[in-house]
Structure formats: C-alpha cells, structure tokens
Amino acid sequence: MGQEIQLIEQIVDRYDSEVGMLIPMMQDLQAKCGYLPTEHIRTLAKTLNVPLSRLYSVATFYSSFRLAPKGAHEVTLCMGTVCYLKGAPNISEAICKEFRVEPGGTTRDRLFSFQAFNCVGACALAPVMIVDGKYYDAVTPQSALEIIHELSPADETVDAAKKEDSA
C-alpha cells in the first residue's frame, strides 16, 4: 500500500504536480507496472486532485493504456496499409486461431499480449511483427506462429528483453 503512494508521489514530483502532464505520468506508471492498476489510478487522481473519471476517460481514450495486466511477452502485429496489403490480416487470423486470443487481449496462460497496431512506421519491412521490441520483417502466418511458439513462459524474459532493447 505504502509503496504505491510512494511511486505515485515520485512520478507526480517528476512533473512538478502539473495536471497537464497527466498523460506522461500515466505512461510512466504503466511503464513501471505494465498496466494501470486501479489503486494506483485512484491514488494518482487524489494526489493531483482531479476526478477519477477524468483519468478513466484518458485511460480508455488512448489505445496504448491498459487497465489489465499483460502477458509475459508482447506481440505486436502491424496492420498498417502496407502490411495489410501484404497479408497482415491472414497473420492476425492465424495467431488468433492458434492461441485463442483477440487483438488487444492476452492469452489465457498469460504467455503474451497480442496487439494490432495501425502502423509501426516500418513499411519497408512489411508485414511486420514486433515481439518484445524486436522487429521481424516479411512475416508469414507460418513464421509468425513459429516465432510465438518459441517464446518462453518465464516472466523474467520480458524484463530482460526490454532492458536489452532500451540499452
């Protein structure tokens, strides 16, 4: 409990308690927790003295915020125009069927969260899939499934991959 207050205070201080920086604050919170936990959001609203409804509206308006924990891995499929033309819908279909997941959802075993982005701006590589920050180019339904099947269920892998990526 105390930890969460401390974290929120830290984040709010970073932006001088400026309500205008609400979105960066929520982004920092999500980066830390992986999602926006209800208790944290409540604390943030109280600390900034803004209605919880405003935070909720922001959290649900922008597609990058999530209110539920994500899987151990992050699989993002680009659905931009070029990827679309080059067969991304078939890849999405294959992933959804194989792992029984919907775009925006997480597999039941929490192996990965699956997201379909509008465009990741890597059109020359189309169709593109990003797994834990690593870009895969010219993906096919088969290769996509192979890549995901190779993911390990361990929780640490995400953090390790992330660290590697940001380094």
Partner: protein
Amino acid sequence: MISAGTKLTSPADLESFAKKLRSSEDKASRSVRVCIGTGCAAKGSRRLYELFVEAAEQSAQDVTIEAKHVGCHGFCERGPIVVIQPGDIFYQSVEEPDVPEIFRETILGGRVIQRLLYEDPSTGKKAKKAEQIPFYNVQHRIVLANNGIIDPTQISDYIKIGGYAALAKVLTSMTPDQVIEEITKSGLRGRGGGGFPTGLKWRAARDANGGPKYVIANGDEGDPGAFMDRSLMEGSPSSVIEGLTICAYAIGSSQGYIYVRNEYPLAVKHLSLAIDSAREVGLLGNDILDSGFTFDITINRGAGAFVCGEETALMASLEGSTGEPRPKYILPVERGLWSKPSIINNVETLANVPPIIVNGADWFTSLGTDKSKGTKIFSLVGKIKNTGLVEVPMGISLRRIIDEIGGGIRDGKKFKAVQTGGPSGGCIPAEQLDARVDFEELTKLGSMMGSGGMIVMDEDTCMVRLAKYFTDFLQKESCGKCTPCREGLAQMLYILDRITDGEGQVGDVQRLEELAELLEGTALCALGKTAANPVLSTIRYFHDEYDAHILQKRCPAKECRGLFRYEIDAEACKACGICLKECPVGAITGEKEVPHVIDQDKCTLCGTCWDKCPFTAVKKV
C-alpha cells in the same frame, strides 16, 4: 565529440567550434557509417555497428578509423546499408559475416567488394556510390540531407555540417519580422497534410495578443504507410529542434513542445538526447548565444490516438485530456494550448526552416512548382520494387517516382493505383500517373498531399476492400465527439462490408456518396471532413469494381472471399496430392498422375489449396 563543459556563448563561438570540428574530421581519414534506422535495425544493423566498433578498436593500424551509426538512408529495401569513407562506397544488404571482409578489404585495403554493391536489375551495372543508383539520383535531398551522414546522437556531428548556423544567423542579424518575411517569401507550406502557408501562420501567431505563446512540433505521424517523420526525428533530430527554436524566436515564444508518436521510441530517445546536448552547450535555455533569447523544449509522447495529429486534438492531449478536436471558430494561433496563442508545425516543415534561412528564400523558391515550393519526403511503399524513403522536388510526376525511383511494380505485376495522403487521401489510377506532385494537383485528382505516404498497389488489390480498410481504420480512430463522423463512418463501413461480402444492393454506391457528402459538409474536424476520400476516389476511378461486386457478385482482383472461385489448372497440376491432403473439407478429388479437381459445391473457399500448392496450379477465377 563535445568535451564536457563546452559552452557556446556567442555566434562566433559556434562558428569557431564548427571549424575546429571540421579540421579534426580530416584526421579521421577513414570511417564506416552503419544505418540504424528502423528498417536496417530490424535486419540486424545494430550488431553490425558493434562489430565494426570492435574491429576499429582492435585494429593495429595507425590510422584513425571511426565507426558511427547514422539515421535512415531511405533505401530500406536493401538494408542494412553501410557506407565507407573515403570513396562513399555504398554497400547494401550487408550481413554479419561480411564485416571482417569489409574491414580488411575496403576500410584497410581500399578495395571494393563487388558482391555488396547495388546492381541495377535492368542493366546489370554495379553502382559504387549512392548517387549512381537510380533510387537516389532522381531525388533531391534538403530535409533528409543529414540522414545517413551524421550520428543523430552527437550534436557535434550536426554542428560540424553547419547545423545551428541558421539559428545563429537569425539571432544576430534578423528581427523576428524579417524571419517571418523570409519564410513567407520562400512559399513554404505545411508538410503535415493541410499545406497551409507557414509564413502566414507565423505572422498570425506573432500578431496575436496575449501570452505566453507556445510552439509545438507535430511528430504524431499516425498515417498508416508513412514513416517520413519517424526517420527524420530519428536521423536528424537537431534539424527539428533548430527549426522549432527559430519559429519560437519569430513568434516570440519561450516554451516549445515536440509531440511524438508513442510507437516511435527511438525518435523519442534521439530527440531527448539532442535537446539535452543543445541545452548543455547553450543552444537551448537562457540567453541563447548571448542574444537575450530564451527558449526550451519539452517532449510529450502521444498515447496512441490517430486523431491527435489534428492540431486542436493534439493540444487537448498536451493539456492532459482526451484528444478531442474542438471547432476552430477561433484559430489556435489566437487561442490554442492552455487558451494561449499557439503554433503547430509538422516536424518536416520545421526541418525545412534552417536551410531556408541559410540559403535564402530565393534558393528555396527555385525548387518546385508555382504554388508548391521546395521538396517533399514520401514513404514509397507497397507493391513496389524499391521501397523506402524518398525526397523529391515538388512538381515531379508520379510516374517518375514510381518507375524511376521505385523501380516499378514487383513480381512483374501490373500497376493499378497509388494511394497518397494517408487514410484521408485517395487513390490515383494509372491514367493519371503523369500528374505532377503538388498540393493543388493531388487535391484536384481527389486525393491529397497529406503527410507523404505513397502506397503503390498492383492488379491483385481490390479497391473496394482498400476503401473498406481505410473506412474501418477511421471509424475506429474517430474520437466520437461529433455525430456525422461517429455514425456516418459506421454506416459507410456497414455498406462496404455488405458489398465485399457479396451482399451489395443496387443503390449502395449512391448511398455511400450521400454519406460522404454529409461527412464532408458537417463533420467537426479534418479527420471527419476528409474521411470519405478513400471511398469517393475509388468510386470515381474504379466504379466498375463496385459494380462487379454489387451486380455480378464478383471481385475482379480476386481478394474478397466468396466473390471468386478456386480452380486447378490441369496442365500445371503435377498430381502431387498435397492439396488433396490439406483440404479441410475433402473437396478435392484426384489420383496419382491425374490432375486434381475441386468440387465447387463442397469448397468453402478457405484458400488452403492455393496456399499449399507448390506448383501454383491452383488459380483464382
């Protein structure tokens, strides 16, 4: 490299510093530049860079060898790209095992490795330098000039090639009004889509009453199929920062924002680094270059909403709210961010500012057409041979971009249309390929310049489905504030769904047109007003495809499931039995050495046979 504590306190300081950097350049006689733009990085170029750094460190030769990573070269199709100095030797599709050979042969030995050079597919001629490659020699790079040359994480690299000279010139010898005059004279227009004259916007903001005033760089590149702004922010972040600083000086602002799309982490990283180092050396902050001018920049990351590319929505987002646009009875230059006079310019527009200031408006107006000056960056993608990022003078024909730079259509297919302007743009058919690329011409054709996505489609693309894709995209991204956009797009999508499912009704095209008119006339913001463009432009140029779907229940491009059949070509079929085994409903019959046949009554059109046939004997008809 900037040593700790370097502080530039006057324009003369900056100049002598740049000179010093240039003279030290000559000592490092050999260098290898590895592209780490998103395209090349995805193909492993970061590892290549590390290997080159290691090799350079271990080398016993007593020459200075510099390995550096640079922004996107544009030729993403052939990545990873490595360029070696001296000689500007351009290697493409470089892989890890090539590194020792490049190091030994080219960097130390000065010999060219033929196998890594670009080979012109039509003539078979090898190109040693970038400018010998057709993809590059038709281009004219002003904004992208630094990409592929400088290390975007080193501000000294930018200063060395003349960076911040424009800011110094502005601060020492120009009044804000003169700056605005120069930009107005140059005819520079907004590169983010609207094409509004930049000088006029700056003038209005300068004249606006009240303060503080804000300047905002729009890097929320949301159009699917576009990555110009991404590559610019990643490859030459300081160009954007310098442009924004000059804009701030011109309108009298001391606080700027750069709003970057959430999906672009590398752009955020490079911009942050560039801002920090500019602050460190005194090119941002208090009393810049002893001029009394004070300015600083904050980076805000978007949170994944396409509508935030619209200026009033972007400002709402900067204020920490949902990104809903507001009516523009009062323009943002009067009342924008925090209800204060504010300017939003696209990052590409801003990156045009320093070269205009340095070279003069006359130089800029010598490029382009009557009403569209300078160059424009396009991301040339889709079913084209050379995908990548291109910067061309305004007024070049679409045909030259597609055929000469793009190298034509992939796999010997036929060109069908090119889509420009993002989801709110339109499709331009083959008959119009000689059209000149400028703001007016593209609008006349029912499309628009937009931010610069250029998506090429071949005969296998169904235009109705494409219109549906964009409508679906916009319907999801509509913020939901105004009814025409929220409900109108949903209805259009419903009709398009019906058409591509083979249930189109006579009169559907007319209904789409009515809805389109309603949207254009009544939607609140640019997203809604232009949302019908993809539908309208495909109806305009590809009416027969709509008719085929609706009247004959047939998809001419054979993309819409259910509106075409699969058949096995008896001559191509080798009777291997693969399709027979794979068919989930047992619709295929045949024996050894007897061509197989699909039972059309049983077939569910799943396409498995088409996917699996190793001899492409399964045809769509």
